[in-house]
Each structure stands twice: as structure tokens, then as C-alpha cells.
């Protein structure tokens, strides 16, 4: 047997590697995504004051720190008994969150995913990068950069800074949106809506044109999980937990965030720092699920903004009303959410509540709280215990990428089996494995509460466990 290693995985956030085990006939026996970083946030925040959490824990990530900022803030709202936010506070947080969704999804689509989609998975590696895209489609790359910039500016106006701000505090926010800030954002919002729609068109056309490819590329049935609003609509900031099975049957609905542990458990496997969550009722073998754009589109009953809702209807039609199980459909779903996010930003910018001055609320103090939010990469769970002296005594984080752990491993296995079995392995073929991982837009830094940019490596081992082949970013095969 042979073990093939891709290390590091590129164009994802964080550090990871893939190992692929081949038998004597070079057939893929097993493929795994290993997360090789470790950070330990859950431990070192113990003993710190609870109001620090939204600001400390967001340091898990530089791509979507707002998700951690808000998930922690939502938990701390409950700690201070202030979970019923004032309208200004809730809308400021939503604006921050939609701004983040917009920038993070744009970053992924234009900078990380577009080289694969535009040039093909096996294209020349010298061209298959964002600079290659810029050379051929300069306008597209410019739009991607400016869309990301716009999202970051929304974050700055609401959180105080583009990365790692302080806007959300326990029970509310520390600022409203000034008229000047609002007008500055309003000036470009229509342009952003237009560009988001063309990115959506691109993602949709790609999926439909390549439907046959997509249907054999990491397609598999799974359960899906995410938050939905009380009426079942997509809600990225708040809602009850809904899970559906592969056929679209609702497994549970509108579950109170505070009770996530009733339905979700985590399994530890020796070969990865990333845990494997599963639905308790179905057990680890069948209870794994997917989160993120694809899952959210699969579980929600509607979207409350017209452009995104029209796009959702088309998306649902493709899979005949059943959950869409295509890994590559994540891109399309992600761009529907991008349109939704900017539609929401536009609505909020016209809402006078954002200039309100009632920013913080509080009530009966609690000692334990959960905050859940739909981060760009999927459902993000923060759980804390706080003692009477205001000290954090326990923290459990289940991040989006962790929720997708099993699914990414399945995608890696499925793509490796299809493309790598019994053939001479090339860089282009190995990139197919990375394309499958990238579709989930994993943030391995968050997933291990870990550190850094995300290179990934692939290793190939034989049956005796000997390393035969290793491929890494900037590294020749060996």
C-alpha cells in the first residue's frame, strides 16, 4: 500500500494536510484531512473576565473574526441578562454580520475558488491562482477586491475597525451608525448589489454548465444543520436550530440554542486536532452533518430578500426540491448568500434605528450561556460558564469548519477514489482533492482554535506505511 500526502493544502485558511492510502494496485483505500495546528483558546481564556470574551475569542481568526465576536457577544448577552437587545443594538450587530458575510464570501469566491472554476481543477499551477485570474479577468478581480473592501468598511463602521473591533459588548453595542458613516456606505451599496448579482450569475452558470462534473465530484448524501428564523426563513444572525436529513425530512426544528448539547455531541479521533460533531439521535456513524451555505440553502424555507429568494428558488429546482448534495454547489449557495447579505445591508442602511442611542440592556445575571450564529462557513457555537466573580470557568467552541469535518473527509475520499485510483498522480490531480476541500471554505485556524495561513499538504503512503509521495505548496513532489 501507498500513502500519498498533500501538505500544505493551499487557498484555504489555516494549516492542514491530506493523506491518502493506496493499496497494491494504487486504488485509494482511505483519505483523510488532518488538521495539524493547535491553539487552545478554550483553555487559556479560563479565569479571564467574561466581558473580554467577544474581543479575545475573535482572535481565533482574521477572516471572519466578526463571527466569533458576535457568537461570544450573544453568549455574554445572556450572562448579563441582556439577550433582548435594543433595536439599535440588534441592527448594528446584524449590519456588522452581513458586512462580514459579504466580505468573507467575496474573498473566498474571487481569491480562493475562482482560479479552479475559471481555469479548471487540473490547469497549470502557474496560472491557477488569483494572479492568473487577474491577468485574464482583471475586472472580475477588481470587483472581488472592492466587494471585500466594502464589507470590511461595513465592519469598520459597526465594530470600530476592519479586523478585530470591539463593537459588540455584553447586552448590546458600543456605538451606533453615524449619518456620515451611513452616507458613505450608501454611496456604493447599489454597485455592490449589482456586482454581487453578477458573481451569483457566474457561480450559477458554472454549476449548471458543469452539472455533470459536479454530480460526480464529492456528491454524497448527508444531514444538514443551521439556524432558521421562527418562520423558517434563512437567518444568519439568530434563530432556532433546524436539521434535515438527506431526503429533506426535518429531524428537529427551532431548537433553543441553549440546548445544542441535547442534540449534538463531538467525537475525538486520534489523527486530527479537529473534533467530529454528530447528531446524538443518529450516532457518530450516521449523525454527521453539513453546515454552511449549501446546508443553509437546504434547510431554510425561504429567504426574506427578493433577489436572493429568486435565486434560491432556482437552486432548489435543480435538486427537485430535495437537499442539494453536491459539494461544488457550495459556491452557488455562497453567492446566493452574498446577494442576500448585501440586500440586507442595503435595507439596514435605510433604517433609522441605526442612529438610535439606546445601545445596551441588561437583566437577570446568569452563570452559563450559549451563543450560536451562522458564520460564513456555517453554524458557530460558543458555550461559556461564568462564576459569580465574573470569571470565565468553562468554554466550548464548535466552529463551522469542525461541523463540516466529516463531510470534508468524505469529499476528500470520494474525489481521491475517483481521480487518483490506479493512475499516475500529478499535481493537477492532487489539486482535485484540494478543490473538494476548498468548496467548504474551511478555516482550519478556527477549527483547531489554531493559527496562521492555511497551506495543505498531501502524503501518499504504501501498505507498509512508507511515505511514497508528498506534495506541498512551493515544494516539489518527493
Amino acid at each position: 500500500m501507498t500513502r500519498l500526502v498533500i501538505e500544505p493544502v493551499t487557498r484555504v485558511e489555516g494549516h492542514g494536510k491530506v493523506s491518502i492510502l493506496l493499496d497494491e494496485r494504487n486504488r485509494v483505500q482511505q483519505a483523510r484531512l488532518h488538521i495539524v495546528e493547535f491553539r487552545g483558546f478554550e483553555r487559556f481564556i479560563q479565569g479571564r473576565p467574561f466581558w473580554e470574551m467577544p474581543v479575545v475569542v475573535q482572535r481565533l481568526c482574521g477572516i471572519c473574526p466578526v463571527s466569533h465576536h458576535l457568537a461570544a457577544a450573544k453568549a455574554m448577552d445572556r450572562i448579563v441578562g441582556g439577550e433582548r437587545l435594543t433595536p439599535t443594538a440588534e441592527k448594528m450587530r446584524r449590519l456588522m454580520h452581513y458586512g462580514q458575510m459579504f466580505q468573507s464570501h467575496s474573498l473566498h469566491f474571487f481569491h480562493l475558488a475562482s482560479p479552479d472554476l475559471l481555469f479548471g481543477f487540473g490547469a497549470d499551477v502557474g496560472k491557477r491562482n488569483v494572479l492568473g485570474v487577474a491577468a485574464l479577468h482583471p475586472e472580475l478581480v477588481r470587483q472581488g477586491i472592492l466587494m471585500r473592501k466594502y464589507g470590511q468598511e461595513v465592519i469598520q463602521a459597526t465594530a470600530g475597525r476592519k479586523i478585530h473591533g470591539t463593537g459588540a459588548i455584553p447586552g448590546g453595542v458600543n456605538k451606533n451608525l453615524s449619518i456620515a458613516e451611513r452616507d458613505e456606505l450608501l454611496a456604493d451599496v447599489e454597485q455592490m448589489v449589482t456586482w454581487a448579482q453578477s458573481a451569483l450569475q457566474l457561480a450559477k452558470d458554472y454549476t449548471l454548465t458543469n452539472l455533470e462534473l459536479a454530480q460526480g465530484f464529492g456528491d454524497f448524501d448527508s444531514n444538514y444543520l443551521g439556524l432558521v428564523r421562527a418562520d423558517g426563513a434563512l437567518d444568519l444572525y439568530d434563530g432556532g436550530i433546524r436539521a434535515k436529513d438527506k431526503a429533506g425530512v426535518v429531524l428537529f426544528d427551532h431548537l433553543d440554542n441553549q440546548r445544542y448539547r441535547d442534540v449534538i455531541a463531538e467525537e475525538v479521533r486520534s489523527w486530527s486536532y479537529m473534533k467530529f460533531p454528530f447528531l446524538k439521535a443518529l450516532g457518530p456513524a450516521n449523525g454527521w452533518y453539513r453546515v454552511g451555505p449549501l446546508a443553509r440553502l437546504n434547510i431554510c424555507s425561504s429567504i426574506d430578500t427578493p433577489l436572493a429568494e429568486a435565486a434560491r428558488a432556482e437552486f432548489v429546482r435543480i435538486s427537485g426540491g430535495k437537499p442539494n448534495n453536491l459539494t461544488l454547489a457550495y459556491h452557488w449557495a455562497r453567492m446566493i448568500e452574498t446577494v442576500h447579505a448585501i440586500e440586507k445591508v442595503r435595507l439596514l442602511l435605510h433604517d433609522a434605528d441605526l442612529q438610535g442611542t439606546d445601545l445596551v440592556t441588561s437583566g437577570e445575571r446568569r452563570e452559563e450561556a450559549v451563543g450560536i450564529i451562522e458564520a460564513p462557513r456555517g453554524t458557530l457555537i460558543h458555550h461559556y460558564k461564568v462564576d459569580r466573580d465574573d470569571r470565565v470557568t468553562m468554554c466550548n467552541l464548535i466552529v463551522s469548519t469542525t461541523n463540516n469535518n466529516e463531510a470534508m473527509n468524505r469529499a476528500v475520499t470520494s474525489v481521491a477514489r475517483k481521480y487518483l485510483s490506479g493512475v499516475e498522480i500529478t499535481e493537477g490531480l492532487l489539486n482535485h482533492v484540494e478543490v473538494a476541500i476548498r468548496a467548504y471554505d474551511p478555516c482550519l485556524s478556527c477549527a483547531t482554535h489554531a493559527l496562521g495561513q492555511m497551506p495543505l499538504q498531501i502524503e501518499l503512503f504504501d501498505a507498509a506505511g512508507r511515505l511514497l509521495h508528498r506534495m506541498a505548496k512551493g515544494m516539489a513532489a518527493r
Partner: protein
């Protein structure tokens, strides 16, 4: 009427009142001498040495030294600024100062001095000391990780609040802030309204549950760098 004391700082002529220290005379004349442990209204202390100036060629702390007639004081000169920057760097590596999530960030005099001196990264090894956080008091906390032993809380508690909440214990590198109680801050008569709390230049002695209430952009040193015209005194910030 007593005679004023005429002296110069960096060539500028000043007239100090008798009894004034160099830093007091400089403040009155609008000349900034960097400082950390000095606080107007408290007895001179002279522990941090960030206000070190050269008086007639000899280094001395501007917060304890009174001017003498005809004294030539050097303040804003490269070698003294470098010395002050080194002192600030030592304070950074000696404690555990994580500005990125400290609620005092943007309002912290140590951080503001580091910006003023252009300190981007420390050149010295971090000590990474093991230090406690005293969260026992209902309204206050002491994060010893951030204490720079400036004694502003010690002196303010005694001289302004008329209490005696804080003291130092230990010597040399073992020196640390302690409270006058068998166990912790909860056992003292410290109160959130004490001037001693506002006197802390860093994030060591804090009111609980205030956190990040002041948004970025509106914090004391977001507006003007420390020591610049328009900077406001501690305790008067928003």
C-alpha cells in the same frame, strides 16, 4: 512674593515657582516630559524613570528634581528618548501585556508611550511571568499581569482617598502589588468610586463590567497621542 527660579529646558527659558519640580514647571509651561509613575497632586515618587532628563549634564528624574537657578535641562534629545523607550520596552516584556484584547487599549498610558516612542516590537526576551487576576471584589479587579508597579494606586489610595488599600510586597523581581487584606481585594475597603482606580495608567486596576464601552476612535489616545496638546488628564476621559 518669592522669587521665581529661572532655568532652561532644551534652550527654552522657564520660571518655576519655588517648590515646583522640573516636571511641574514644564507642565505649567506646556512642555511635555514623558512620564508613567508621576501623577499631578501626588507626592513625587520617582520610580519608573521614564521622565529622566539631564540636569547640568547629570541624569535625574524630572518628577522629583526641583530646578535650580540657571540649571540647563535637556529633555527632548535622542539619547534620552532612546533611554525612555528602553524603559518602556522593559516594562512590556516584564509583564504580560496583550494590547490586542486589553480593555484599556487606546486608553493605556504604557501603550500610548510605546506608540509615541515608535516601539513596534520588543527587542528583549519576554519574561512571561505567572501572575494572578484578583476578581474577588464585586466591582473591581486587579490583573497583576498588567501591573507596572508605578504605585499610583498605592499613593492615590493613601493621599487622595484617605484609605490604604494597596501596598507593595517583596523585593527586586519578586516585588508585586498587594492589598491590605488577608486574602484579596474583596477584603479591603476599596470602592469603585475611589480615585485610586482611575489613577491606574494601565489595565491592572479596573472597574468591572466596563470593558469596551468606549468605541474605537473615541478612546483617549485615539484622539491625540499622549503628551500632545489636547490630551486630557486621566480620570477626565469619556
Amino acid at each position: 512674593m518669592t522669587d521665581k527660579i529661572l532655568f532652561t529646558i532644551d534652550g527654552v527659558e522657564l520660571a518655576a515657582e519655588p517648590g515646583q519640580t522640573i516636571i511641574e514647571a514644564a507642565d505649567a509651561a506646556g512642555i511635555y516630559i514623558p512620564r508613567l509613575c508621576h501623577q499631578p497632586g501626588l507626592n513625587p515618587f520617582g520610580s519608573c524613570r521614564v521622565c529622566t532628563v539631564r540636569c547640568n549634564g547629570r541624569p535625574c528624574s524630572a518628577c522629583t528634581q526641583p530646578p535650580a537657578p540657571g540649571m540647563v535641562v535637556e529633555n527632548d534629545v535622542p539619547d534620552l528618548q532612546a533611554l525612555r523607550a528602553e524603559l518602556v520596552e522593559m516594562l512590556f516584556v516584564e509583564g504580560n501585556h496583550f494590547c490586542m484584547f486589553c480593555e484599556k487599549s487606546g486608553r493605556c498610558e504604557l501603550q500610548a508611550l510605546a506608540y509615541r516612542f515608535g516601539i513596534l516590537a520588543p527587542r528583549l526576551d519576554y519574561c512571561w511571568p505567572q501572575r494572578e487576576v484578583d476578581m474577588s471584589h464585586p466591582d473591581l479587579l486587579i490583573d497583576h499581569n498588567r501591573c507596572i508597579l508605578c504605585a499610583r494606586c498605592v499613593r492615590t489610595s493613601q493621599q487622595v482617598d484617605g484609605k490604604n488599600v494597596f501596598q507593595f510586597i517583596g523585593r527586586g523581581t519578586k516585588k508585586r502589588l498587594a492589598v491590605n487584606s488577608r486574602a484579596s481585594l474583596a477584603g479591603t475597603d476599596a470602592a469603585a468610586a475611589d480615585a485610586a482606580v482611575a489613577a491606574c495608567p494601565v489595565g491592572a486596576l479596573l472597574k468591572k463590567r466596563v470593558g469596551y464601552a468606549v468605541p474605537m476612535g473615541r478612546r483617549r489616545f485615539d484622539k491625540v497621542p499622549i503628551g500632545s496638546p489636547g490630551d486630557i488628564a486621566p480620570g477626565q476621559e469619556q
